[in-house]
């Protein structure tokens, strides 16, 4: 296995998040839907193109550009991303017109941009990047599928620069529909209330990863795994042992609990073997969405880079900052699509 490093990050989420900053001031929004804070796009893309783009395309491209700039790379060799929902807004625009206009007098723009690989394709177009370009759409394993592919690429060719990440938008219609499945809390409740349902989120997180360590490297990406079974304690043990680690070696775990009392206890139980470990419950900051693992990776990288876990992020409040060394991200989506990402501080 090659040593793989995370060298650039672009993050757009419900938080103002400069991934190089040592002092994060995240806001706890009392809402059941956290919306991505969109950056000023002026410096990132031409206004003509900006007008035609939906939110998911804009946040995807902006995040990609930020990640590349952060890593000091103009053009990646490979682009591979994950999105569970794809381009919801454009899909809805076309669908709505198709229905209300009874399949007549339609225009192509929304249809063209509704394709699931629009974000990856537009990044390639903007960068004139002719390299391999994949988009995975497997619910809670969309981002993880693309990350796994990235690691495989670097094990084949250690000269590559890979742009990988997870992108999902939430629209009003989608929020209302998903809410009807009982996924989200009622308006009055937010993350901290112990009740059924979680809070919705969205975001775009892109990463530049390669095999070259430098002074700006955030962390080493040691390994990752998409769990094949729901026996998570067993999956965790085999994942750690395949990386020559014991459960007690993990000192920090970013855990995907989301305030939904139907799942949180199970999720925490799944990792109770990590007895020597501080937990960070990241979803209170980004909300729940299928590619939220990419937010966890960005936050973990930021904290590892500054060699401390801010006490504000710890699940069990502490007066002391905690030093991360072997960091595990454990995520899931509705107690399904469990995954691990293992990081190491340098």
């Amino acid at each position: 296995m090659m040593n793989i490093y995370i060298n650039g990050i672009g993050s757009i989420s419900a938080q103002q998040f400069d991934t190089r900053s040592a002092q994060l001031s995240f806001q706890n929004h009392p809402s059941n839907r956290l919306m991505a804070i969109e950056p000023d796009y002026k410096d990132l893309m031409p206004p003509m193109q900006l007008r035609r783009m939906s939110k998911v395309v804009k946040i995807g491209i902006a995040s990609a550009k930020t990640a590349l700039k952060d890593a000091g790379i103009e053009k990646p060799d490979i682009i591979t991303t994950g999105t569970a929902y794809g381009c919801l807004a454009d899909t809805e625009v076309f669908l709505q017109k198709m229905i209300t206009q009874n399949e007549t007098l339609l225009t192509p723009t929304a249809f063209i941009q509704s394709t699931h690989n629009t974000v990856s394709g537009q990044i390639a177009l903007m960068l004139k990047c002719h390299g391999h370009n994949f988009t995975y759409v497997q619910k809670g394993h969309s981002f993880e599928s693309s990350l796994q592919e990235s690691i495989m690429w670097l094990n084949e060719n250690n000269n590559l620069h890979i742009l990988t990440g997870g992108i999902d938008e939430m629209t009003d219609h989608a929020f209302n529909i998903i809410a009807r499945f009982g996924t989200y809390k009622n308006d009055s409740n937010h993350y901290t209330s112990p009740s059924e349902g979680t809070i919705a989120g969205e975001g775009a997180h892109l990463f530049v990863i390669n095999t070259q360590r430098n002074e700006k490297t955030y962390a080493q990406l040691v390994d990752m795994k998409m769990c094949a079974t729901n026996d998570i304690p067993m999956e965790l043990e085999s994942f750690l042992s395949s990386n020559s680690l014991k459960a007690t070696d993990i000192d920090t775990c970013f855990v995907g609990i989301n305030g939904d009392n139907r799942y949180d206890e199970t999720i925490l139980n799944n990792v109770k073997s990590l007895s020597n470990c501080q937990f960070v419950d990241f979803k209170k900051w980004c909300g729940e969405y299928p590619t939220s693992g990419s937010f966890a990776l960005a936050l973990a990288c930021n904290q590892i880079y500054h060699k401390k876990i801010d006490s504000a992020f710890l699940f069990q409040p502490s007066n002391q900052d905690h030093i991360p060394q072997n960091v595990l991200i454990y995520n899931h989506y509705k107690n399904n699509y469990h995954s691990f990402i293992l990081l190491k501080s340098l």
Partner: protein, 444 residues
Amino acid sequence: MFELVIIDINDVKKSTWLRYQYSNYICILINEIQFLMMNEKVWIVGLGAMSSIGNNVAENFNALMNLQSGIGACTILNTIHQETLPVCEIKLSNETLAEMAGMKLHLPRAVYFSAIASQEALTQFKSCISESDYHDLRIGFLSGNTIGGMDLSENFYADLLNDQSSGHLKEVVHHECGAITALVASHLNISHYVSTLSTACSSSANAIIQGSKLLKHDKLDVVLVGGTDALCRFTLNGFNTLMILDNQPCKPFDENRKGLNLGEGAGYVVLISDRIKNKFSIEPIAEVSGYANANDAFHQTASSAEGNGNYMAMEQALQMSKLQPYQIDYINAHGTGTANNDASEGIAIERLFKEQTPLVSSTKANTGHTLGACGGLEAVYCCLSLQHQVVYPSLRIDTPMKEFTFKINQAIIKDQKINHVMSNSFGFGGNCTSLIFSNPKEQL
């Protein structure tokens, strides 16, 4: 002095103790083995197909050999374009499909196609090994798909627009592309690896690439790869707004071609690694000898005039296969029938192959453009071409295109040796994929 210790690499991977014991040696060993694995061959051992020209592989092959096409009036999809836009529709109701697939009702159509074609491919592979051996294998499922459960979501959305609280949730619960794959994976009892690629018209060809890589990296022993898509109003109207649908049966590579006809269906192949092939002495149908994905980076929906992305994908696939252009015997082209695609693809083929252009045809004249399924379906057709040593014609060419000098194949060819076949799939977002399949007997 050296001590020779023979240990199973899988034990090394599992055992922390072994790693500590032999850490230095094993590191070298693992890297060596990793390197060898990248060069390991990937074999096709099962085929499954469902399209407007047949419900299984044999029916599809017969139809191709009898120059049949599935193009006709749209009768199952409820659209205002039923009389005006011909499609390649599978003339089976959802009830019949559910029964054939052995699945419940009210699932997206793409699920049924996928389940039926997957089962056919998997059954062929299962006949090569014992039940107990099958259960010990690490099996994955990687499917391409572009519209997910849109055929049902369209109904749901119409209700929703009237009233935010109306519409049956069962019509939208499987909306996501990933839901299609998850439903079929669970039906097939596959859990080791389940994922979906959605890169428009190259989705299922890309699933074949990534499936091959998962085997080479020893993540899996067996992987079922391909794709599925069903006709729906969303895509029919979408392509109609782009003005690239032919209101007559399409004529790929004809000088006067007017556009494509949309189709539906599914195509899957079962891939196994060299290790599994040797362990169970399985006779493969074909080898996946080359693949590449490149991006045209020209326009969201149109191909560059020079076919840059197409050229790069074909060139890199050839490089990987270590074949020379003249060794390719047949190209199953993307050949949609649109003015833009066929010109760019033809020019890219001519630029790469020069005077040594192999036989070229497009089977989309038979099946229509099945979007997320076409790479899988055409991979099956390429394997059948190798198996039966035949090349299919491109139907309905009256006036061959004048942009390039090579001739598009218009007849069934039976008297030529077919050892290496290339399959192209190009999609929106500049996504260009080329695959090469080779005759396994050539490899011995």
